[in-house]
């Protein structure tokens, strides 16, 4: 049930965020400072998400060998500017195979 609330609220929130941009007059939010802030916000959030998804298990920091190695291979692909599908397959395959052996 709570997941349904989350799904509904995410859909409503995301859509209203988009629609709001078409409804408000352009000058309301469009200062260079706000624009820069909104540009940088995803940088902080995405970096935090990388770390949390990589290292956190609930409230514990864990170093999981296959996960770390898979991520490292994926990161190498990102660094080499590989297409996203290559990043995903490389990371997943590495971690998956390491768990098999």
């Amino acid at each position: 049930m709570t997941i349904w609330i989350l799904v509904g609220a995410t859909i409503a929130g995301c859509y209203l965020q988009k629609l709001a941009g078409y409804l408000v007059p352009a000058h309301v939010l469009d200062g260079p400072r706000v624009r820069r802030l909104v540009e940088l916000l995803p940088v902080a959030l995405l970096a935090a998400l990388v770390v949390v998804q990589l290292l956190a298990n609930g409230r514990h920091l864990v170093l999981d060998g296959p996960r770390l190695t898979g991520f490292a291979v994926g990161a190498l692909a990102v660094w080499r500017r590989a297409p996203f599908i290559v990043v995903v397959v490389a990371a997943g395959l590495t971690a998956g195979l390491l768990r098999l052996v």
Binding site: I3, G13, Y22, G31, L37, L40, V50, H60, P83, T94
Partner: protein, 223 residues
């Protein structure tokens, strides 16, 4: 009506759509692994339709975070869509039902493809074809990813390594755009890592926004 220029714009736009579809598999699988149903995952892709936010929401839930923290991270990440819409509004000149549809299609990719064109007609073509192409492939691949993810244990296929790599792929182009971006990213990552043992899941990601204080150029930008 179909000029060579126009077909080139359409081809590029559809190419972006297909490429982005690959994220959809990862999202669908990550979403069911986090405990959402196939239907819930598909509804998010259909109507929230903004990849980074969707990933963040299911990521926080997968990590044991509460609904509030998941929603807050997602909406903070989605706030950029408001600015995209404000940039697109004068370009697209949409009213009524078309405006409601344009709002749904306002995402990173469609905005980037549209504002890249000097000619407003090309910009409109790029927007609608990119938004449409991404929409079709994103939703198809979400469905397939969610179905596959509910049949097998995604951890066997290294999904726990795929998700952080996916976030890194979303982050990388932003990191390449400047030193301030790198500082904010390292700051955000450090804050999150330090807070994991001390705060409920979901909070470290939200607290990472404090890294924006490291954006020294923000103080120099005049209002």
């Amino acid at each position: 009506m179909t000029s060579p220029q126009r077909s080139a714009v359409i081809r590029d736009s559809l190419g972006v759509g297909i490429a982005v579809g690959a994220y959809g598999f990862a999202f669908g699988a990550a979403s069911v692994a986090a405990g959402l149903s196939v239907l819930q995952s598909c509804l998010l892709s259909l109507f929230a339709f903004t990849g980074g936010t969707q990933f963040a929401v299911v990521g926080v839930i997968a990590g044991g975070g509460g609904v509030g923290a998941a929603l807050a991270s997602g909406l903070l990440l989605g706030s950029r869509n408001t600015l995209y819409a404000m940039r697109l509004a004068p370009l697209l000149q949409v009213r009524g039902p078309r405006r409601l549809l344009a709002a749904l299609g306002t995402i990173d990719e469609s905005t980037a493809m549209a504002v890249g064109h000097a000619d407003p007609r090309d910009a409109r073509t790029a927007f609608w074809w990119t938004a449409g192409g991404v929409f079709v492939f994103w939703n198809l691949s979400t469905l397939i990813g969610a179905l596959l993810g509910s049949l097998v244990d995604p951890t066997d296929f290294g999904l726990d390594a795929v998700v952080p790599a996916a976030f890194l792929a979303l982050l990388a182009p932003r990191l390449r755009s400047g030193a301030v971006e790198k500082r904010v990213a390292f700051g955000g990552a450090a804050i999150a890592a330090v807070l994991v043992p001390f705060t409920p899941p979901g909070v470290p990601v939200l607290a990472a926004t404090a890294a924006l204080l490291l954006a020294t150029d923000l103080r120099r930008v005049r209002r």
